[in-house]
């Protein structure tokens, strides 16, 4: 059963059409990857799902509910949490405060917050070691972990991960993808936008390839791996 169905989604920045008639389906428990160059429309798709941008046309159905055009806070309450490409942390707040803000929608459930905090600290022990440090003082990789940790604090049903590997050293990228797989195994469905197609397809169930705001190819990870065009453009082999 699909948790998320996007049908004919079009979104615009002013007059400029950024994505056009995008169709995506995410089944519960999957890792689905969106591939494509910078500016192809992956982040716009995420922004529209998260409610930061209103759709110009089309539907976004999450668990049988039409969510297109809802306010971002309502969408988080429904269980979709985005971990944005530029991380959007609270730079002068401590690591721990950032994580606590992530649990904002569960603010009345102290027990659950404690439990989530424990889980995040187990997944990313460095966040516990640096809990008193300002988020802005962390390294790029640590900031990415904090962004993912903060998103996890909201206990999402569906997590949107926008280029978690961007700007990170190869070793950290590997760890990052391992953590994503772990989060998925624990029960969170994941929609991942990536330029690192090789690593992304190796953990994903299926993928969609963007070009100039449209999806040009889609299929299972194995299909995309063997697709000549995709290999040439994104895997480079």
């Amino acid at each position: 059963m699909p948790v998320l169905s996007i049908m004919g989604l079009t979104a615009k920045y002013g007059k400029y059409t950024s994505i056009k008639e995008v169709n995506i389906e995410v089944i519960k428990g999957e890792i689905v990857v969106l591939l494509g160059a910078n500016g192809a429309g992956k982040s716009t798709t995420f922004k529209t799902i998260s409610g930061l941008l209103k759709p110009a046309a089309g539907e976004i159905i999450f668990n049988d509910e039409q969510i297109g055009g809802k306010q971002p806070d309502k969408i988080v309450e429904l269980g979709i949490v985005q971990c944005a490409e530029d991380r959007k942390l609270f730079p002068q707040m401590s690591v721990q405060q950032n994580l606590m803000m992530g649990a904002y929608v569960h603010r009345r459930n102290k027990g659950q917050i404690k439990q989530s905090l424990k889980e995040v600290n187990e997944l990313f022990p460095i966040l516990y070691d640096k809990r008193e440090d300002a988020a802005g003082s962390l390294s790029g990789g640590q900031q990415q972990m904090l962004a993912i940790g903060r998103a996890l604090m909201a206990k999402p049903k569906l997590m949107l991960l926008d280029e978690p590997s961007i700007g990170l050293a190869p070793l950290i990228v590997e760890q990052m993808f391992k953590s994503i797989e772990h989060i998925n195994r624990e029960g969170t469905t994941i929609l991942l936008a990536e330029q690192n197609a090789n690593a992304a397809l190796s953990i994903a169930d299926k993928g969609y390839v963007y070009e100039n705001g449209k999806i040009v190819v889609h299929g299972s990870s194995a299909e995309l791996f063997s697709n000549e065009e995709v290999r040439k453009a994104y895997i480079g082999a």
Partner: protein, 287 residues
């Protein structure tokens, strides 16, 4: 020595009021990312509402302040809803022009409603007390005590409660706040209410030792700008510390240099501090 102590206490009194006004300005800066020029008008309306509640409605000073806090808080929210919210995606210059427009409008309105006269606000706390050999009016002690109590409460609210933290979160990253599920509209409303309330408290506390008139917000708001620039735009400790720095400098300067130059001191201080630390004392690293 006694003169110095007396002047230090004066500095504490003025500084407390400056800090309250600057705190509201700095909180709203976190939402608008421009200094809200209309904040001075809120201060002025705060003074008038308290005065009118006392003289026309016969309320006790403290009760009048409570009414003033609510009225000015709501006026501030109205300002956000009717003017700044619709302008949220416009270039910042439009917010600035709009803020100046609100300031002029409210001042003209105050003049129309209450006249241009300078008015005195009575206080039930007029008696003179002796503390450590200093002769002080009770009102001044109340200004300091009330302002510090309000600031401690505000600090607790912003740092220790989820709702208060949303204000800080939104100031640091608006989209980040939306993505953790914070309703940014509600936070903006809350922030404007608090800023209005702080302006009303500041004006109501200080009016019995100053005067109430339509232009009473001018100098205060200019100085509040100086304070948040000195303290670092958007910084809460910066607004508090900056308020007291200015209060002390003014009262000491007025005594030992000349009281004619009292109001110039703020701006001289601004030049000196910005020459040494262009981003302000509590500047936020790099950004």
């Amino acid at each position: 020595m006694e003169l110095l102590l007396q002047q230090l206490f004066n500095g504490l009194t003025i500084g407390s009021v400056y800090s309250l006004v600057a705190l509201g300005l700095t909180l709203v800066y976190g939402i608008l990312h421009i200094p809200n020029f209309a904040h001075g008008a809120l201060y002025m309306v705060g003074g008038y509402i308290t005065l009118m509640m006392m003289t026309n409605a016969g309320l006790h000073y403290v009760l009048a302040i409570v009414v003033s806090i609510i009225v000015v808080g709501l006026l501030s929210v109205l300002m956000e809803r009717l003017v700044f919210h619709p302008l949220r995606d416009s270039p910042p210059i439009q917010d600035k022009v709009a803020a100046i427009g609100i300031l002029l409008f409210l001042e003209a309105l105050a003049q129309l409603l209450w006249g241009a006269d300078y008015r005195q606000m009575p206080t039930p706390f007029g008696e003179v007390v002796n503390v450590f050999g200093l002769t002080l009016t009770l009102q001044r002690i109340i200004i300091v005590a009330a302002a510090i109590a309000v600031m401690i409460f505000l600090y607790w609210f912003l740092k220790k409660t989820f709702i208060g933290s949303t204000i800080i979160a939104m100031a640091q990253n608006r989209e980040g706040a939306a993505l953790v599920g914070i309703n940014t509209n509600k936070v903006a409303i809350l922030t404007f209410f608090i800023a209005g309330a702080l302006a009303a408290i500041g004006a109501s506390l200080t009016s019995p030792i100053n005067l109430v008139f339509p232009g009473m917000g001018h100098l205060v708001i200019l100085k509040a700008f100086v304070i948040i620039i000195i303290g670092g735009m958007g910084s809460i400790p910066g607004a508090i510390l900056g308020g007291y720095i200015l209060g002390f400098t003014e009262s000491i300067g007025a005594t030992y240099i000349s009281s004619d130059y009292k109001d110039i001191i703020a701006f001289v201080l601004l030049i000196i501090i910005l020459s040494a630390k262009p981003q302000g004392i509590f500047s936020k690293g790099g950004a």
